[in-house]
């Protein structure tokens, strides 16, 4: 319990630093903005109590907002997908909430994992960009930005999950 608390506490501090120093400096086509920090919602275990997930994603969001001067945009979007993160998985993997408690992301097969991560990323990025411009003007542009940025985020998350998961199975 203590070591996992330490692990996710460390993530809370490291993810904003990575986001700021690496991912905010990626400049492709002028407006692709990957938000890698949402990997927190993906790797947070299902059997942990949900209150701690909500509170820690709120904290993570606040850290990101503080560093990027974005008001509460990231906090709002991150808490939103933290609350609803089980629903896409229940739909794609057709599992009951009880079965989900026993699942870890290592056990989810790749197509389902891909769909799950993609849907969460798309929802999150759409909320971030919508709240940022705070109006529905240039809606096509908004959708394009959401879509392109989400592709990069999804690739980055899948890549790092690959690294993280293979390392873990070697250790066992």
């Amino acid at each position: 319990m203590n070591s996992s608390m330490l692990k996710y506490g460390l993530l809370l501090i490291l993810l904003p630093v990575f986001q700021l120093s690496i991912f905010n400096n990626i400049n492709l086509l002028g407006y692709i903005d990957p938000y890698f920090y949402i990997i927190f919602i993906i790797v947070y275990p299902f059997k942990k109590d949900r209150t701690s997930l909500l509170l820690s994603s709120f904290l993570l969001g606040i850290f990101i907002d503080l560093l990027t001067n974005d008001g509460g945009i990231h906090t709002f979007s991150l808490v939103f997908i933290a609350y609803f993160r089980r629903i896409p998985l229940q739909v794609f993997a057709s599992k009951t909430p009880l079965e989900l408690e026993e699942t870890s992301i290592q056990n989810i097969n790749f197509p389902v994992l891909f769909l799950w991560i993609s849907s969460l990323t798309l929802i999150h990025h759409f909320l971030v960009f919508l709240l940022e411009q705070f109006s529905f003007e240039n809606f096509g542009n908004l959708l394009l930005k959401t879509f392109l940025s989400a592709i990069l985020t999804i690739l980055l998350i899948l890549f790092s999950l690959q690294l993280f998961l293979t390392k873990k199975s070697n250790a066992q």
Partner: protein
Amino acid sequence: MLQLIKFFTNNRYGLLFVLLEFIAFIFVLNSHSYHYSKFLNSANSISGSILKTSKGIHDYFHLTSQNKLLAQENELLKNKLQKQASNLSQKQGISADSLLKYNYISAQVISNPFRKRNNILTIDKGEKDGIKPNMGVVLSNGVVGITLRTSNHFTTVLSLLNSQTKINAKMKNSPHYGSLEWNGNDFSSVQLYDLPIQAHIKVGDTVISGGKSVIFPEGIPIGMIKSFEKKNKAYQNINIHLFADFSALNYVYVVQNKLSDEQLQLENQSQNE
């Protein structure tokens, strides 16, 4: 009563969600109001020092190009100084006060977003260096923005690339004024509004800062006209190509107007009469 308690304990997870989202949404609303973000802004020492370290690492790889830029700017300023000195000796009548109206504080940009709709920069100088809110931030070849919030060592700057920024500007070769705003599409060009039809403009004309406000000195080159349309006897869609590259801001100058209090006070008095 018992049922009420039962309702709260059964739905405490949902209620916590609503509460957290409510707090976050207040932060969002706050950031879209005129005086930016009272709660979450990077003009504080923790965010400031993280931004500064990350900027330091980034800088190390761009030393050569930055040196070149600084050398060019030095040259330009030296030339200006010489001209100013020779002008001064010719016009003895002008008091030195009005020539030394502005003071420049150099600062480094440590956080430089430019891809969002509303961009806010962070610079590494603050109150201890004499920076206050509502001061202009400029380059030798452009206007960067207006200071927003200050802490002891850091300041946030409302960038020109922000929906809330409006900057007074005029044409270099005619005395007509307009206001610069950004439509959010391309960070290398801004739009000029409210330019009267009497101004004769053509593609390639230079736009400079207007000097109608106390924030910016007059005559800083900003950009040149890239394209415009004429409809119903009014100019529309005047696109200005910026001279400054907003994707690579590094050293900027904060403008301290020594006479701003005096001017504002006088303007207020005149309005009240």
